[in-house]
């Protein structure tokens, strides 16, 4: 009885959401061009797009397109600046807490299908630039359905325990032994790009198995496999960095057939919007992984 009570208390303590406080947010004037670039690098639109049936311009991240996951069907929220159904009323602190701590505006844990586990590594200024860019988009009224997850409030609280094991809010650290481009690529891949979320297999506890970093595994939506993105040249997938950059920019338009299936087509569409220097940086970093 006592043990059970202690166990419950321990669970309650480790699972409690711990949002940042306002002094963790620097004063920052958003760089909108950088925000737009990182919006694409972060793949926001891939999940937050509206359904065709909503009649909303599908270029806007008005949310509501169902995302099937092992725990149920999720409805990514509207992140246009509509004050009622979007994020128009969110403060910088609200936004950073969601993106980098996985805590919603109402203070509860967010389901990590939203890849805050990767976004946590980003520079906070980059996160604020994305918020600045989102604020420039047309506000769309679109109330999205609630997630269809069994016992959602309990799952949300339980996520606190999962985060205690599997979530590290440490920022990306540059490797001074590597080039500036390599470090930029590593930042884009591991922070905003969140490649790891699908290309690294998960352990039994659903945390990334970093001993098999980017080595591929079962598809998170349960159908097929996600390829390894290590040793891409050695395995004959790409000739060199320039070849990989062309694949990012063109996908199957130049016959790079690995750039579609399983959601990669949407990723490639986002990558195609990035400046060539960033794509070269990503290629340099990825091709260094043997």
């Amino acid at each position: 009885m006592l043990l059970a009570a202690l166990g419950l208390l321990a669970f309650w303590l480790v699972s409690a959401p711990r949002p940042l406080s306002a002094d963790a947010i620097p004063a920052h004037t958003p760089d909108l061009a950088n925000g737009e670039k990182l919006y694409h690098a972060s793949g926001c639109h891939s999940c937050h797009l509206p359904t065709a049936a909503s009649g909303i311009d599908t270029a806007l991240p008005a949310g509501g397109t169902p995302l099937k996951t092992p725990i149920g069907t999720l409805y990514p929220p509207n992140i246009t600046p509509d004050p009622e159904t979007g994020i128009g009323q969110w403060s910088d602190l609200d936004f950073v807490n969601a993106m980098q701590q996985g805590i919603g505006r109402n203070g509860s844990h967010l389901i990590p299908a939203f890849p805050y586990t990767s976004y946590a590594r980003m520079k906070v200024e980059d996160v604020l630039d994305i918020k600045g860019y989102l604020a420039t988009l047309a506000p769309m009224k679109n109330a999205v359905p609630s997630h269809e997850v069994f016992a959602l409030p309990i799952v949300r609280r339980g996520l606190g325990a999962w985060k205690w094991i599997g979530f590290d809010d440490g920022k990306f650290k540059e490797d001074p032994a590597q080039s500036a481009a390599w470090n930029r690529g590593a930042y884009l891949v591991n922070g905003p790009g969140h490649c790891n979320e699908c290309h690294t297999p998960r352990s039994l506890l659903m945390t990334s198995d970093m001993s098999r970093f980017l080595a591929g595994g079962p598809h998170p939506e349960g159908d097929g496999k996600v390829p390894s993105i290590r040793n891409l040249v050695g395995r004959g997938k790409y000739k060199n960095a320039a070849d990989l950059v062309l694949a990012f920019q063109n996908g199957e338009i130049l016959g790079y057939e690995d750039m579609s299936s399983g959601g990669m087509g949407k990723v490639q569409a986002n990558l195609a919007k990035l400046p060539e220097d960033d794509l070269k940086a990503i290629a340099e970093y990825l091709l260094s992984l043997k």
């Binding site: 390829p227 338009i253 130049l254 990669m264």
Partner: protein
């Protein structure tokens, strides 16, 4: 004598294995192999087209025509490749997603969009018209793969 018994036993078990394998392969395997041969022929067109798009080789109408002819031959039975009972092979592995059969109208629309783009490509007579029409064909491949092909790993 004993050696002969052993040989008979070995031969008949081998025969059983062969028969069992033959019994396992079936009509779905044939359809899967046929559509994979068709996809491979699409790849043959890509192999001719992409170096031209990248500027590595000049436009070669004859080579493109040859690849298209192979594509026509391999894909002629397309409409018969996708019967309901070919969702999974008896022994052959397929990357076709169940969404093809859940949304046959969507699948046919995606195939139709590709076909239309491909018809324009086939009308191309020189490098300029080829380069203008080819991207829509690649886009057609991507749009269909994205929705209807399982990731291969």
């Amino acid at each position: 004598m004993f050696e002969r018994v052993k040989t008979v036993i070995a031969a008949s078990s081998l025969g059983l294995v062969v028969m069992a394998t033959a019994a396992l392969a079936g009509p779905a395997d044939d359809a899967i192999k046929a559509r994979q041969a068709c996809m491979k022929a699409h790849g043959g067109v890509m192999a001719v087209a992409v170096p031209v798009m990248k500027g590595e080789k000049p436009f070669d109408a004859a080579a493109l025509k040859a690849a298209h002819d192979k594509e026509d031959a391999a894909c002629a039975g397309w409409d018969g490749f996708w019967a309901e009972n070919t969702m999974q092979g008896e022994t052959a592995e397929t990357w076709a997603k169940p969404e093809i059969w859940a949304d046959m109208a969507g699948f046919q629309a995606a195939g139709g969009a590709w076909y239309e783009a491909d018809q324009k490509l086939r009308a191309a007579t020189d490098e300029a018209s080829f380069k203008a029409t080819f991207p829509a064909v690649g886009k057609g491949c991507q749009d269909c793969h994205e929705k209807f092909r399982r990731p291969k790993g």
